[in-house]
Symmetry: C5
Subunit: 86 residues, 5 copies
C-alpha cells in the first residue's frame, strides 16, 4: 500500500457503468505524481491516506465488480509532510 | 487509476481473438509516455481520461474475457494541461 | 518479492472494514521510499523483511478477503545494509 | 498495454511445465529496456507489437494455466520508430 | 517476464506458512536492483533466468496457494552480460 495525500475531487460525468456513482479523488504521492483513487471512507483534501492497489482495490471498494485499481483504505493518524520524506 | 490524454487511434489488424474487435487508443501520460488502452466509452483524441489497470481493466471492458490490462473508465470534466502538472 | 526494512508502525483508526484490525507497518526500500505493509509475522522496526505484492498479498495475510496489496512474508536472516546495496 | 518491438527469440530449454512449449520473444521498449513475452501471434524481429500484462496475459495466451505475465496481443499496423517517441 | 541473474540464496527462517519451505533466491536485474524470487527449477548463482510476476507467479510455483509474486520460470540458454545491455 502507498501513502498519498488527497488533492481534490475528480469529476467524470461520462464513465463506465462499472465505476457506478462512486466518489473519486485525485491523490498525490510525495513527489507530486497524481493518481485517481476511489474513496469509500470519505477522505477530505489534505488528508494523508493509505491507498490499496491490485485486485484488493476492488474488494476494498465494497464490491469486486467495481472496476477500480486504487482505493483509499484508511486515513492515517498523525502523519505530516516531514514524515513522508524521512 | 491514472490520468491520460488520448493521443490517437491504434490499428492492429493481426491480433489475438481475446482482444476481439474492440477500439484501441494510444494514450499518453503527463511525461509523454505512451500506452495502449481499450476504449469502451468513445473517447476522442485530446480528451483527458481515467485509465484503469490490473484485473479491473478486463471487467471495465464489459467482459472479463477481453484481455486488456488498461481500459478507459471515463472522460474527465474540466481538466487542463496545467492541472496535470500541479 | 522485495526486500524492505521495517521503519515503524502505522496508525489508521478510520479504515475500511476490509483491513480489519490487522497490524500495519511503514516499510522502506534501499532508496528510502516508503510503503505500507500488513504484518502477519510480527516484525519489529529495523528488521529486514520479504514483502509480497499482487493477489498473493491477500493470501499471505491469512484471509483473501483482507484487502492488502503488500504483506510481510518473512524476516530475513543475516541481512545487512551493505548487502542491500550490492 | 504497452508498445514493444520484437528483438529476438529467447531459448530456455530448462523451464517450468507451466510455460509449456510456447514461443518466447525478447521485446524492447522505446528506451531499450528488455522484457520477455509469450507470443501466440507469430511476431517477427522488428515488428512493433502490443503487449498485455497482468492476469490478462494468461488469458491472451489461450489458456489461463500458462504462466506468462506478458503476452503479445497483436502486431501494430503503420508504426515507426518516430511515432514511438512522439 | 523479466530477465534476472541469480545472485544468491536467501534465508528467512521465520516466514508465513503460505511460503512453505520453498527455495528463495535473491535475483538482480541489469541495473543491479535486487528482488526475491521463488525457485521451482533449481537455478544456481550466476544463472540468467526468466522471472514471472503477477498471479502467474503463484501458478508457476506449482500451487496457487503459495504466496509468491515472483517465480523463476526457466533458465535462459546462451545469455551473457553483454546481451543484457543491448
Amino acid at each position: 500500500m502507498n501513502i498519498h495525500r488527497v488533492a481534490r475531487d475528480l469529476v467524470a460525468t461520462h464513465r463506465t457503468a462499472s465505476l457506478a456513482d462512486k466518489s473519486l479523488r485525485v491523490v498525490e504521492d510525495h513527489r507530486g505524481n497524481l493518481e485517481v483513487a476511489l474513496d469509500p471512507v470519505g477522505a477530505k483534501p489534505g488528508d494523508f491516506v493509505i491507498t490499496i492497489g491490485t485486485s484488493a482495490a476492488r474488494i476494498a471498494a465494497g464490491d469486486p465488480r467495481i472496476t477500480t485499481d486504487l482505493t483509499i483504505g484508511g486515513i492515517i493518524d498523525h502523519w505530516t509532510e516531514a514524515r513522508w520524506r524521512d
